[in-house]
């Protein structure tokens, strides 16, 4: 019973620490989506794979979204005709390379080295993988067939400037992806639900009321979804901390390699949002190596189980496997080198 109280206290403290960052992130992402005209942005993105993927990694600064919010945005980027390297690098780096996450990492650790390494490793991995995918000039073969069709169609019919794709005739439940069942009548797919909002540009949003309504809708939508994930993540984290014997955690934390692997596995399982994962991982700071904490914070936002679900709505399995494998290898390589050399 005592353990239950302990884990509940831990759970609440995690939530109290994390919720302000989540609210801030959601508000900022909703606000910025109105302030930035993404079509103009795409038109200015560099086509060179190396430069493109580096810029794509940094675009996160303009879209401070969690790993839950970046998939719809990356999907929009692809559909709007952004270079593949930019979209992939954005997908991988945006959850980490954004002001909210950098700030929350600093607040949690108060350690410049950890913050800088997190940024450097994430940006490097995103750039390398973005570059690799940049070889593929035509994104269609690596996308899910339905999205591929849409991209191919859009590429043919409307070079730029039209609003987001129309709904297909396929029943929603036959499509892959994450769905909301709260709207009466028809389940709404997650990225579809956000897409109308994402697609709005200042030019299209007419009237202050419409803008405000869209802003509120988007904020509530994101907060509900991400808040749910946060509560689940915090619950798992507090249960692990209280119910798993310390010896087990300690033995995983030993050795530079096992600790990194353990933390990457944890990152994938816990699926905690990148704006708050620094607070989560801080609980392990005394028993795990710094390298493994970095592995958690670099790898977690790129790929976790929740994100894989979201990604399956865009990419083919094989593409996701490449993303997953290379990101994992690079994370181990970087963090292990850090453990050995610093």
């Amino acid at each position: 019973m005592n353990q239950l109280y302990n884990s509940f206290t831990l759970f609440l403290s995690l939530l109290v620490e994390a919720v302000p960052f989540l609210i801030l992130g959601v508000l900022l992402s909703s606000a910025l989506l109105f302030l930035i005209d993404e079509r103009q942005l795409i038109a200015r993105l560099p086509r060179n794979p190396l430069l493109g993927s580096f810029v794509g990694g940094c675009v996160g600064f303009l879209f401070p979204v969690c790993e839950c919010g970046n998939v719809p945005v990356a999907r929009r980027l692809l559909v709007q005709g952004a270079p593949t390297s930019v979209a992939i690098a954005f997908l991988l780096a945006a959850p980490t390379i954004n002001p909210i996450v950098i700030w929350s990492t600093w607040v949690a650790f108060q350690d410049v080295q950890v913050v800088l390494l997190r940024i450097a490793f994430s940006l490097a991995i995103a750039t390398i993988i973005g570059c690799l995918f940049g070889f593929q000039k035509d994104p269609v073969p690596m996308l899910q067939p339905e999205l591929a069709n849409r991209v191919a169609l859009l590429a043919k019919s409307q070079p730029q400037g039209k609003p987001s794709p129309q709904k297909e005739a396929v029943p929603a439940l036959l499509q892959s992806g994450t769905f909301f069942l709260d709207q009466p009548g028809q389940p709404v797919r997650l990225d579809e639900a956000i897409a109308p909002v994402v697609g709005i540009t200042p030019a299209q949003a007419k009237g202050r009321n419409t803008k405000l309504r869209l802003f509120v809708d988007n904020t509530v939508q994101e907060f509900r979804e991400l808040g749910g994930m946060l509560i689940l993540g915090s619950a798992i984290a507090s249960i692990i901390q209280v119910f798993v014997p310390r010896e087990v955690v300690l033995s995983l934390g030993q050795g530079p390699i096992t600790s990194i692997l353990a933390m990457m596995l944890l990152a994938a399982v816990v699926s905690i949002c990148s704006t708050v994962d620094a607070f989560f991982v801080l609980a392990f700071a005394t028993t795990f190596t710094t390298g493994s904490l970095l592995a958690f914070m670099v790898f977690g936002p790129m790929i976790d189980i929740k994100a894989i679900g979201l990604m399956l709505s865009i990419f083919k399995t094989r593409t996701i496997f490449y993303l997953f494998a290379i990101a994992a290898q690079l994370t181990i390589l970087f963090t292990l080198s850090y453990s050995y050399f610093f």
């Binding site: 000039k137 073969p141 030993q254 390699i257 005394t286 190596t289 290898q329 690079l330 390589l333």
Partner: protein, 503 residues
């Protein structure tokens, strides 16, 4: 079209698979080189290491009581504790939080020493008790303690009335103040970069003891190694235009000054003033005050007030925070500010008339009488761990006339016993100072000018002109000296007044 797509798809596949293969080889190499060891020589050191040491390249003071070692991995605590070597030895206690170890010294590190810290042979923690963790990468470093240095007021020739810094570690003398300033009192800053002093200017028309102003001078010690701080640069801190400065104290924060001032136009306007940092000086209250001392927390001042001592906050206000009617004077505070020694003049106890009692008072409200002397309690200082008190006392010698003879005494607070250490028969107006590491006690022996009409601005508190003054060093020991172990007293080669150790 389909064929073309397939071709491109293979490009991505080929690129991705090649990259995965290259990364696998790199990873294998990295893991292999981390494990390819022969003895303690590894191609890459994969074991734990010391990530940071808080006293690295630092010159530590008596206030630095603990250092922190941060490891890259969780360590076997007992193993680290057994393998950590500091030379010369510094006894202390270990404490751990995860990968961080703190070592708290039992007493301040002796000054003027270079220490080496070595950790080798320690292992990382392993939950499985039978297998041994990896060995730590040997760690070796050095740190130093501050130079042993003290300041005094010169008495002879060119040095007369000037503030002089003597670095015992380097055997180096520096005159800090110019000839025209006759220093009457001084207080070193805790970071030892500055010394605050009060002085008279001989260039004034009528230089007299009451015309002192408060200045600040740089010592040349630079704790932060930032900016240029050559010694001997002087700023005026408190002037004497409207108010005369009688005495002052500097707080431990190095920011706050409390000055006892008297209005030139209205001698009844006589009270304590406070100055925070670069702010203007302002009156603390309008109550007359006697001797005073700023508490170690730098937020309150304890001052003799009528028939007791009052505790005032350092923000201007009239009401004291506390009032202790029993005591007449505060002599010293413990380093952490939790205890103080105070003097009871025994005015209200007819049995103890003409004696003084020394009390140990702590913040829990306990008041314990330490000694009662049939003379005067002049001064007392706690040793750094607050286990002993060094006191300057006098005893009354009955002869044709009563004579007060000063002596130094040691009071052991733990054993609750006291004993005189050394008698100082021909001494007067003695100032003593205990070293910040507790290893030596400095005091002066003033020699008066035989001519009672002699002129000069260097005078004792009773107004006699000072001809010269010797400086003595008493090496303090842990035991009370006796016949077999006489006190180790040494006359230092310089002549000066009011010797005081730098913190």
């Amino acid at each position: 079209m389909i064929g073309k797509r397939k071709q491109r798809l293979q490009t991505l596949d080929r690129a991705a698979i090649s990259l995965i293969a290259v990364l696998s080889v790199l990873l294998a190499l990295l893991i292999w080189s981390g494990n390819a060891c022969s003895g303690s020589d590894c191609l890459l050191h994969s074991g734990p290491r010391v990530r940071s040491f808080s006293w690295q390249d630092k010159s530590i003071s008596a206030d630095d009581r603990a250092f922190i070692l941060t490891f890259s991995r969780p360590m076997d605590k007992a193993n680290v504790e057994n393998n950590l070597k500091i030379e010369p030895e510094l006894p202390g206690k270990f404490s751990w939080v995860g990968r961080t170890m703190a070592y708290t010294l039992d007493k301040p590190a002796p000054y003027g020493t270079e220490y080496s810290l070595r950790l080798q042979g320690a292992r990382e923690q392993f939950s499985d008790e039978e297998s041994k963790g990896t060995l730590i990468q040997p760690f070796e470093t050095t740190f130093t303690s501050r130079d042993r240095a003290f300041v005094y007021v010169g008495v002879e020739g060119e040095e007369r009335g000037r503030l002089i810094l003597f670095n015992l570690t380097l055997d180096q003398k520096t005159i800090l103040t110019p000839k025209n300033l006759i220093v009457t009192d001084f207080k070193p800053y805790p970071n030892r970069a500055y010394i605050s002093f009060s002085a008279l200017d001989t260039r004034d028309e009528d230089p007299s003891v009451v015309e002192q102003q408060i200045y600040r001078v740089t010592t040349g010690f630079n704790p932060d190694a930032a900016g240029d701080l050559a010694e001997g640069s002087i700023d005026l801190v408190v002037d004497n235009d409207e108010y005369r400065n009688l005495s002052y104290d500097l707080a431990q924060d190095g920011e706050t000054l409390v000055v006892q001032r008297i209005n030139r136009a209205d001698p009844a306007d006589f009270s304590l003033w406070v100055k925070h940092g670069d702010d203007a000086i302002e009156p603390l209250n309008d109550l007359p005050s006697g001797d005073f001392l700023i508490a170690p927390d730098s937020t309150s001042v304890i001052s003799s007030q009528g028939e007791g001592v009052a505790v005032f906050s350092l923000e201007p206000q009239d009401e004291p925070l506390d009032f202790l009617p029993k005591f007449g004077k505060v002599l010293d505070f413990s380093r952490d500010g939790t205890a103080a020694v105070m003097v009871d003049f025994n005015q209200n106890d007819p049995d103890k008339r003409y004696t003084q009692s020394l009390y140990f008072v702590n913040n829990q409200g306990s008041q314990e009488e330490l000694i009662n002397v049939p003379g005067t309690i002049l001064d007392c200082e706690f040793n750094p761990p607050t286990t002993k008190l060094y006191c300057l006392l006098t005893e009354l010698i009955q002869g044709e006339q009563f004579v007060e003879q000063p002596y130094l005494a040691l009071i052991d607070l733990e054993a609750d016993e006291s004993a005189p250490i050394v008698k100082l028969p021909d001494y007067q107006d003695i100032n003593m100072s205990l070293a910040p590491d507790g290893l030596g006690l400095l005091f002066d022996q003033v020699m008066l000018d035989p001519d009672p009409m002699a002129e000069g601005l260097l005078r004792t508190s009773s107004g006699n002109a000072i001809a010269s003054s010797r400086i003595w060093l008493l090496l303090t020991t842990s035991v009370i000296p006796d016949q077999e172990a006489p006190p180790q007293l040494e006359e230092l080669p310089m002549r000066g007044l009011r010797p005081q150790w730098l913190p």
